[in-house]
Each structure stands twice: as structure tokens, then as C-alpha cells.
Subunit: 228 residues, 2 copies
DNA sequence: CGCAGTCTTGAATCTCCTCAAAAGGCGTGG
DNA sequence: CCACGCCTTTTGAGGAGATTCAAGACTGCG
């Protein structure tokens, strides 16, 4: 459950170096590539600017006092984040792979920011339904479909997208996203694999074999894909 | 689990009368008082206008194919809702008591709509953390605090708010909100009552006795109150 | 008074978690 | 190149928390 290391009380007052230096090195409208495991901003600290995710993967998360973590959303290419109001960040944002980011300046197209906000809300609501009412297997099936949609490799053949994608999330990340444990996530993924709905040789390269059956399990009616 | 009656497939094409007539009777900027159990708009149907909740209580929910329901947010006085984008409503909205609504027109103050949207998102994210990572007792404690904050009766004494509020949600509504069952909700509420943290004579009039202990259990750090 | 609905409580069951250990991948260094 | 350690993933066994099923209590209403 305690999958990340929380900054101790002292660190809560003074943000860790990694977060600090990252913000300082990035001027307005500047773009930068950030290594995996980088915290872009910390929950509870002075609000950061907004970002556009050009390429890579970012997790938005919250943490309870005792360290239990909930990943609230997983972002792929094209998504905007860090657009909150108020003095402090309501969530943390962390890269899950090498990620190309662009800092947003104030005069961002207002319609685009609004669309991004609506997307965040729709996804958060769909995720609440997943967390509150789906079984472990349904959760994992939903996650696979969502990630395939966000991270599907654009293939040469114009006809259809490849059904293979890189799983930037570890089993622990998936667990924190889906409200499960590492073991349960692993069991469900392997159950889907044994049933022939998905396939993976390496734990982080996943192929969707039977998308229809997966959608049947996931009850994906409520799950919006950012790619529309 | 199946706490509401879903419209059958035919009803999905043609919205039920109740929703229909409600929308027709409400012209722009008009206000109206709606009885409990009224569906203001249905998930999946043509998008409704936005509303301001003057007084009362509204639940925003989503339903899976087999009828499992998840209440995504509970709204009290002052909240705005129905501000989604796209052709269809991502959620349903239903009154939980006699509710005074005002339909929003197009030239709504843009900043106010944006604030409302940000509040919806922050609450949805906090609720995801609740659903994914809190125990049943923690969930119920969080819910009690949230509802007390939204529905606390403004007392005559200017010093502090009354700690008694009307619970417009039934045990079944609470269950659908917190990702639990009716029985578990009842057990947790009575456990909090026996422990002397809350009190209720009637099931729907709740008093907070020990707010500090309740917050301790709820881990309310992440839970934003709409009243700020 | 009796009925219908909600709420409460108990007992049995089940899903998922916890704990434990083994297997696999990857980089380091001898 | 292989041994070693570290980390992630997988798999199994047992246990805990929440659900399911069932029955009784309370409330409002005809």
C-alpha cells in the first residue's frame, strides 16, 4: 500500500530539491525532457504552473497521512495538467517515464484549458465509478483499455492502431490507480493473459488480443478516452 | 447494489416523461422547486443546461450496464452543476429532497462557471482517494464531515455553526456514494454513534459530537469543503 | 391496525488483502 | 562471462474486511 516515500514534516515546509530545481529550470513556454520518477509538483505546496504533456506519461496522485496513495489520473501525450486553482496543488504529479513537457504560460488558449478541465472531470467521475463499483478484474480490464487508448503506438498501416502499448505503470502504480494491491493486479493481468484476452512477454509490453471481450468485462460505457 | 431502477432500452432512446417535462417547464434563468426523486437529467441523453442549486440536495451519478450505481458527488446550496461539454450528459442528476433550482443561461459569469468546474474536479479527485484507499469506517466518517459542511444549519449564534444537519441521503444513497453496501453503511454509522462521535435519534437527523475524532478517522486532509 | 419502506443486526460467505517465498530481469563488479 | 544483489513480478496459503443473505425493528401512511 505504501508505494511511495512521503516527504517528512520538514520536507513539507521546504519542497524537495528535485521539485525545486525542476521548476526553476523551466521558463515560460519552454519545453524540457524529464526522466522517470521526477516529481513535477507536490501536493500541498505552492501551486505550480500548468503543463502540456508532449510525449511520455505522468501520474496525478494524492496521499493519505499514513502513506496510502491514490493515483487519480494517468496522462498520455496531448494531455494538459496542473491547471488547478487555489494557493496549493491539490495533487502531486510524477513522471512514469522520460517525458517531454511544455510549460504553459498565462495566455493559453482559454478554450483549450477549459476542454482539458472538462476532460479531467469526466475521467475523474468515470474513475470514481470504477473505484466504487467495479470488481478487481473489471478494474484491470478497464485500465488496460484506457492505457491502450492513450498509449497505442501509431502504426504505419493507416487502417487501424496497433494493439500493443508500453505499460509505463508498474504493478504498484496500477494498484494505486485502481484501488487494489500489487498482488491482485498481477493476478488479474495473468488471468486475462491465460484467458487469451491480452498478452505480454515482458511485464511492460502489453498486447490486446480480444478487445471486444475486454470491453465486455470492463463495462467501458462510462469510460471516456481522451482521444475521443 | 442495484439501488435504482434503470430505464429499459426503450426508455434510453426516449427520455422518461419526468425528465422531459421538467426541462420543458423551466425557461432560461427561471427558478423552480422540484420534489425529491426527480431526475433533472439522464446520463447519455442530450445535454441539459446548467443549474444553480439554491436550496436542497442533488446527487450526480453514473450507472453500469447491470445496474450498479455510483454517486459521483452530492451537491448542497450554492453549488453549480450540469456544466459538462459534449452532446450528452456524462452523468445523471437527481434531487434527494425538495430542491430549489435556477437554470443557468448562456451568459453566466465565466469565472463563476470555471470556479464551479474546479471545485467539481477537486472533489472528484478527493472522492477517488476515498473510494480507492479508505476503509468503510473512514469513508463514512468522511461523508459525515462533508455533508455537515455542506448542509450545516446556519444557527442564530454567530459564533459557530450548528453541528446538526439533515441527512438527505438514505443509507442506500450513502452506500452508492461511498462504494459500500447499505448494511455496511448502517453498521459504520452505528459504530460511530456507539463510540460517541456522532448521534442520531431519527436516521436522517445527524449531530456531530466529536468533530476532532471524526476528522482523525476521516483523514480529511484531502477533502475540500465547498464552503472553503 | 396492517402494510410498505427503510433501517438495523446477526451469521455465513466471498472477494480481496496480507504474508511469505520463489522466479525473473537488469546492472555491477569480480 | 558469471555471480551477486536489488527490484519487480508472480504464485500460494491463510486471514480480514466487506458483502450477501436473512430476519427483525422502526416509521410513516392508508
Amino acid at each position: 500500500m505504501l508505494n511511495i516515500v512521503m516527504p517528512d514534516e520538514a520536507a513539507r515546509i521546504v519542497p524537495p530539491d528535485i521539485s525545486n530545481s525542476f521548476a526553476r529550470n523551466l521558463r515560460s513556454n519552454q519545453s524540457k525532457i524529464v526522466p522517470p520518477g521526477t516529481t513535477i509538483y507536490f501536493e500541498g505546496f505552492r501551486r505550480s504552473p500548468g503543463y502540456r504533456l508532449i510525449d511520455g506519461c505522468v501520474a496525478i496522485s494524492q496521499v493519505l497521512r499514513d502513506g496510502r496513495r491514490q493515483i487519480v489520473d494517468v496522462l498520455g501525450p496531448g494531455r494538459l495538467f496542473g491547471l488547478s486553482q487555489g494557493d496549493s496543488n491539490p495533487c502531486s504529479a510524477e513522471t512514469l517515464t522520460y517525458t517531454h513537457l511544455e510549460q504553459l504560460d498565462e495566455d493559453l488558449d482559454h478554450n483549450e484549458a477549459e476542454r482539458a478541465l472538462h476532460l479531467m472531470l469526466r475521467r475523474a467521475q468515470a474513475h470514481a465509478t470504477l473505484l466504487g463499483r467495479k470488481t478487481a478484474l473489471e478494474k484491470v480490464a478497464s485500465a488496460v483499455l484506457d492505457l491502450a487508448c492513450q498509449f497505442a503506438r501509431t502504426s504505419k498501416s493507416p487502417k487501424r492502431k496497433r494493439l500493443t502499448f508500453t505499460l509505463y505503470l508498474t504493478r504498484a502504480d496500477l494498484a494505486d490507480w485502481l484501488g487494489l494491491t500489487v498482488e491482485t493486479v498481477s493476478r488479474c493481468l495473468n488471468q486475462l493473459k491465460r484467458s487469451g484476452l491480452i498478452d505480454f512477454r515482458h511485464p511492460e509490453i502489453v498486447t490486446i488480443v480480444d478487445k471486444g471481450a475486454l470491453m465486455e468485462i470492463a463495462d467501458a460505457s462510462a469510460n471516456p478516452c481522451p482521444a475521443e
